[in-house]
């Protein structure tokens, strides 16, 4: 391993521009998707009147849009920092963006023009059996759009893999396995390279699995005889979905590894514990997905038990390694807070805290009374809205302030941060409370008995959206001024 493999370099201005464009786009899409989420809560509160078909279209758009936007933001973060260590091709990055945007057009066309409302999980055979609500063409547009996004990400990860292997010799070396398993004495690759390698391995696999079910579901629309077993389809979809959404967090945490040291003065080290955590994550993120299928008791019993046990294990690297390390690095570090660092640190808290209700829901006996209630959006909004998305906004703000740490934390930013924190926590708390009182998820119309928590949730959601708008507009204005 050469020294250059460990030492960060400044990325080219053209590459930085591509990342700024991407993160600006991702931030705007995130904001728009949050507005759609607010509309859903307002409709459930009976404060606005939306027909169920439109509600479920918006719900589908909110879900798939959030997965896409977090994936886009995560990719921008990973590409920006991985570029510091390995050669990545700008042309391939723009090809990824082109596929992504083409996919977005098709997906939203399928939803709002064709009426597709099969949810982002598109469980087989719902896309082909809508009861006459949408056409096969709408489902096909949605599927082809998702395939385009998937192809874009595949190209992105293949180029990243090529860059990593060219620089470090193999994926195993990039994961630090010689240091972890063979006692190699030289310094392990930087945290960014280790995390990126895990992401590109597992997401390449997940996208291929996702493509298989998308193609079969698409063909089934017009050739019903070509069907897939619904249980197998569910396994493929949840494997793909679980891995993809988790890797958005893994990509975002790279921003914490790279930016927080500039504030704390303490470099984030890829020591053996760090390497072990990421190697465990590599396996766990793919093996734990059966916890989405705990109510399909026709699944093999060992897979259901594994789903519970690995859910517990999967929480350990996040809390004992990432969150713990962050606190150690920040402890009495003399950090000067600004909006970027506050959002990045909030992101780690949201990730670690959100895992708690998620892991508990991975217990079979709990899952029997919590699965598919609002408890579920409660925990994933915790580690996405207050976790992944907070980290992404932290990265955006850091870029917007010229990649410099410890900038002035101006009052409007402080108010926006507090609004984001309170709005996010309140939204999550009302979701979790709704899960506690058994409110089902994905219902266009709620019973009057559930109205109070819906309305409180709407107020917090509105606060979160407002605060996000301030953060995003503030960052974009700085981008424009810098240009």
């Amino acid at each position: 391993m050469t020294d250059i493999a460990l030492t960060p370099r400044k990325i080219l201005p053209s590459a930085a521009t591509a990342v700024r464009l991407t993160i600006a786009l991702a931030a705007l899409v995130l904001l728009l998707m949050m507005v759609l989420g607010l509309v859903l809560r307002l409709a459930q509160s009976a404060w606005i009147d939306i027909a169920p078909d439109l509600f479920y279209q918006i719900m589908t758009a909110h879900g798939v849009g959030m997965v896409g936007a977090t994936g886009l933001a995560g990719a921008a973060i990973m590409w920006f920092f991985l570029n510091r260590y390995v050669e990545l091709r700008l042309g391939v990055y723009y090809l990824f963006l082109a596929f992504f945007l083409l996919g977005v057009v098709l997906i939203f066309g399928g939803i709002f023009s064709g009426g597709f409302a099969g949810a982002w999980t598109f469980l087989f055979p719902l896309p082909a059996m809508s009861g006459g609500v949408w056409t096969p063409g709408a489902s096909l547009a949605f599927f082809i759009g998702l395939l385009c996004v998937g192809v874009g990400f595949l190209v992105f990860y293949l180029d990243a893999g090529l860059g990593v292997v060219s620089r470090y010799g193999s994926l195993a070396r990039a994961l630090g396995w010689p240091q972890l398993f063979a006692g190699a004495q030289q310094e392990a690759p930087p945290p960014t390279v280790v995390a990126s390698t895990v992401v590109l391995i597992v997401n390449t696999i997940s996208i291929v699995v996702g493509a298989i079910i998308l193609v079969i579901s698409g063909v089934n629309l017009y050739v019903p005889a070509l069907a897939i077993d619904p249980l197998l389809a569910k396994n493929l979809i949840y494997f793909f979905g679980h891995v993809f959404i988790n890797t958005t967090i893994y990509m975002a945490v790279i921003a914490v590894y790279e930016i927080i040291p500039a504030y704390s003065g303490r470099p984030w080290k890829a020591n053996k514990i760090f390497l072990a955590g990421w190697t465990a994550t590599l396996l766990l993120v793919m093996a734990v997905y059966p916890h989405h299928l705990l109510q399909d008791m026709v699944m093999p019993a060992w897979m259901l038990v594994m789903g519970q046990l690995l859910s517990y294990v999967a929480g350990i690297p996040v809390i004992v390694i990432t969150a713990y390390a962050l606190l150690v690095y920040l402890h009495r570090s003399g950090i000067r807070w600004d909006l970027a660092s506050a959002l990045l640190v909030l992101g780690i808290f949201g990730w670690a805290a959100g895992i708690i209700p998620a892991v508990i829901d991975g217990t079979i006996s709990v899952n029997k009374v919590m699965h598919n209630t609002l408890w579920v959006p409660g925990h994933f909004h915790f580690y996405l809205l207050l976790g992944m998305v907070a980290m992404s906004f932290g990265f955006s703000v850091w870029l917007a302030q010229g990649e410099k740490p410890a900038q002035p934390f101006i009052p409007v930013q402080k108010i926006a941060f507090l609004g984001y924190l309170i709005g996010g926590l309140g939204l999550v708390a009302t979701f979790l409370y709704a899960g506690k009182i058994s409110v089902p998820r994905r219902w266009a119309v709620h019973l009057p008995e559930w109205g109070a928590q819906d309305r409180v949730g709407s107020v917090f959601a509105a606060l979160a959206v407002l605060a996000t708008a301030v953060i995003v507009v503030n960052a974009l204005a700085r981008f424009v001024r810098a240009k």
């Binding site: 469980l123 055979p125 399909d296 640190v345 009374v369 506690k436 089902p440």
Partner: protein, 171 residues
């Protein structure tokens, strides 16, 4: 169950928040020169605490098979067949006894549905997926007579939220 789960979540999230606040509160005050943080001090105990708690909870929640009728259930269970289809439920027999174990054999005629049983106060009692081509079984013993509610808990299209039925449980 739901109240206990919510309480445990609240306590653990609050504890985590307290730890974050305690560290971050003084993070901007630099340590005295020459002093360094000791990253290993609490990590190993925390790791082993989580391992021990995880093993204990796993044993406690799996030692009795969670998909079975339950240790308290006595006698041969009565079978009720349940078929979901967009957007209604067929339950046979339509009336079930209280105090006796029931096994619901649940399937779907078309897309995925979720068979959820709610008590008269709208609290969920149990659930299982209704899948085309498969029969999922879920056991439940109704503690008292009354009118229970069956709802759909897996998104199944436009009528998902109206896919509900009443279930009469007699003394």
């Amino acid at each position: 169950m739901q109240d206990t789960v919510a309480l445990i979540t609240l306590v653990l999230v609050t504890l985590l928040a307290i730890v974050f606040v305690m560290v971050l509160w003084r993070a901007s005050v630099p340590a005295a020169p020459g002093t360094t943080a000791d990253p290993g001090r609490y990590r190993a105990p925390l790791f082993w605490l989580l391992v021990v708690v995880g093993i204990g909870v796993s044993y406690g929640t799996l030692v009795e098979w969670p998909y079975g009728p339950g240790a308290a259930a006595s006698g041969e269970p009565t079978t009720a067949t349940v078929t979901g289809s967009i957007w209604s439920w067929e339950i046979n027999p339509a009336q079930l006894p209280a105090g006796k174990p029931i096994v619901f054999a649940v399937t779907s005629r078309d897309v995925n549905h979720g068979f959820g049983i709610y008590d008269p106060d709208l609290k969920m009692l149990t659930q299982v997926q209704a899948m085309p081509g498969y029969v999922n079984k879920v056991y439940y013993t109704f503690p008292r007579a009354g009118t229970y509610k069956i709802v759909c808990l897996e998104y199944c299209g436009l009528g998902h939220h109206v896919m509900a039925a009443d279930l009469t449980v007699s003394p």
